[in-house]
Amino acid sequence: MPESMPQKEITFLIDSNLDNVSLAGVAVRGICSYLSLTEADAYYLELCVVEAVNNAIKHAYGSEAGHTVEINIIYSKDGITFEISDWGEKMLPQGLPRLNFDAGNPVTIPERGMGLFIIDSVMDKVIYSSEGAKNTLTMRKYFHYKK
C-alpha cells in the first residue's frame, strides 16, 4: 500500500445464507489485490473472513437465512482489521483453538471445528466481544508479520 494512503474503511452486509459467503470472500480478495498483498496472504485473509462469516451463519443464526451479517474492513498503513458481526446467539467462551490429531489414524482426523484454529493461526490478534445484542469477532493482521 502506498505510504501516503490514509486509513480507509468499508462496511457491507450479507444475508445469513451460506450461498452469499463467497461474495464476501471475493470482496476481501479484491481489497487484498488493491493493497498489493501476495496471493497467499490474500487467500489466508479471505479464508479467515469466510470462516468467521460461516460461524456467524451456522452458530449464531443456526443456519437460518433472513438475518444480517455485517463485515467491516478497516485498513491503514500498519495492517488490516476485519470485524464480523451478528445479532444472534453469543459464542460460548472457548480456550485456545487446537488441532490435535494423528495423521496416521483417520479416526482422529477432524472433519469440523477447524475454522477458529485457522483464524487464530493466521491472524495477529483475535477478539470476540458483545455489546447489547451485537456480537463481533475482530481479526487484525499486521502487514509486517510477527513471525
Binding site: 451460506l18 451463519i57 483417520p106 477447524m114 485457522i118
Partner: protein, 110 residues
C-alpha cells in the same frame, strides 16, 4: 456442484469443475464422494486443479470422504494450487493425504 468423474482402470478420477469447495457446497460434495465409494470405488484421485478456494468445511468434506473408505482403499490428491496447498500445510492435512503434482503420477502411485 459440477464434478467430472472418469474411470482409468480401477481408479476413479474426480475433478470438481468449480473454483470453490466451501460451506455452501460441502454437504453436496461429500454426498457425491460417498455415493462413488458406496458404488465400490476404492482408489480415488481428487484432482483439484480447477479449485482456487477451499474453506474448513470443504476440507472437512474431503476428510469425510477419506473416512468413508474405512481404511479399504485410498483417496489421493492431485493438481493442488499453491494457495490451497497452504491450507493443507496449515492444518497438517498434507500429512494425511498423499499429494501429487499430476494426475498421471497419482495413477502410477495407486
Amino acid at each position: 456442484m459440477q464434478i467430472e468423474s472418469i474411470k482409468a482402470g480401477d481408479v476413479l478420477i474426480v475433478k470438481p469443475a468449480e473454483k470453490r469447495i466451501d460451506a455452501s457446497v460441502a454437504t453436496e460434495f461429500k454426498g457425491k464422494m460417498v455415493d462413488w465409494i458406496n458404488e465400490g470405488n476404492t482408489k480415488i484421485i481428487l484432482n483439484l486443479a480447477n479449485v482456487d478456494f477451499i474453506d474448513s468445511s470443504g476440507l472437512g468434506a474431503i476428510v469425510s470422504s477419506l473416512k468413508a473408505l474405512g481404511g479399504n482403499g485410498d483417496l489421493v490428491i492431485s493438481g493442488l494450487q499453491e494457495t490451497v496447498m497452504g491450507l493443507f500445510r496449515l492444518t497438517r492435512m498434507n500429512k494425511v493425504f498423499q499429494i501429487f503434482s499430476s494426475e498421471q503420477e497419482a495413477i502410477q502411485a495407486l
